[in-house]
Subunit: 259 residues, 2 copies
Amino acid sequence: MTTAPSPTSGFSAFALEPFPEVRPGDDVASAINDVLSRTGTALLDGDVVVVASKVVSIAEKRYVDLADVIPSVEALDLSARTGKPAAVVQLILEHSTEHFLATERGPIIARHHLGHLLTSAGIDRAGDEGAWLLPVDPDASARALRDALVTHTGADIAVVIADSDGRADRRGATCISIGAAGVAPLRLTEHGGKRQEETFTDMIAAAAAIVLGQRGRGVPAAVLRGVGYVPSDVGVAEMLHHAPTTRAATPGKPSPSGV
Amino acid sequence: MTTAPSPTSGFSAFALEPFPEVRPGDDVASAINDVLSRTGTALLDGDVVVVASKVVSIAEKRYVDLADVIPSVEALDLSARTGKPAAVVQLILEHSTEHFLATERGPIIARHHLGHLLTSAGIDRAGDEGAWLLPVDPDASARALRDALVTHTGADIAVVIADSDGRADRRGATCISIGAAGVAPLRLTEHGGKRQEETFTDMIAAAAAIVLGQRGRGVPAAVLRGVGYVPSDVGVAEMLHHAPTTRAATPGKPSPSGV
């Protein structure tokens, strides 16, 4: 597999806005297509469409009512230590294979079943009553979204699904990729015998986050134009040290692994 | 301190190239200014100039000859376990306050005296014989570079110093900020009572890395144009959980802390 794209000397990024509110069951590709039509924006071959994982979760109805979650003894204990609601802790445990506390009081860093090491296993609070889980298979979501956008627009584009995450050494959330289609997740460059492998789709997600990550603006999608990349459908899972494990148990029930 | 900048709907990024080879003692601001002159490029108010930490290290003569480094017993032991040269391990220990192995065989993740948690404490190999240390004080380097560029160009710009680093869950290097001037490192947005703090200069570094991070292209500097930000000189240190500690001991001698 070749992962050395043509060099990128420059690129541009722009928000797809105004973006409609996405509701459970909505089709994200149609929403994007509507924005493109309304704003007279054409996607071009080679564009990378970056979408916030939250809207994919909403479209995929990944909402969990916290009242339906029964915390285990371990969740109650971890809740007492971190101050995090027990039902949320239970969801974190159910959707991860291992976890640790960044400091004595948290946050809880957990290895999601998909293989990503994420703050709170990627569980996103929805007010006091609910939570959003990650998309079931973000690489598959990215492929479906890419296929639909290619059909809609006729442009040979790539899709990256971006999620926010923290770093152990600093305050604030950064942005990484949890799903990708049409773009190789790693970029490999070689020179004078030295070889460098980069988390390319993470850089794409972070660049898009400059536009996306502004709470309250309601912009869950952006386009990067002019980025050289190697087309590939291997997905972000390819760059993870941990392959995805068997899917999590039904929300609200303890997972089979007992964690 | 206000950290909510005007929203960014779009931005562009471009490489400063061709860039001359930077040699120990060279002035990075002059090198950038030469590229701007030769290519007829003008910096504009609000531009963010992103520079790879490596060239700042080179300009600051942060080279260490590995033959001059005397490994401690701890470095020899860690070298045997990880397969990393003992002299490099010694440098890692001297420039960090704590460390752990990501897996049994490494890499060594270390808390640099500056407060950053970095693969190999940010030590960069220079062939078999040497290594590059991080800039002494990347925020100060960024401030000096910014001052010089503002003087040279008359444009009110910001500077970010970018370094590559890994993530525990995935293959490949990503790019983060280790120094900044003229731009607040964290971006704060609020909406409907929800507050989000983002590692903004890390996003800027990652976006620039799409252009920079291609080994062999010799492009250590890029410009981001159109990014809304809050001017500030607090530096990247402001977003770290760990404040910088007393500087490391002289290379080649065990550090006072005994690590």
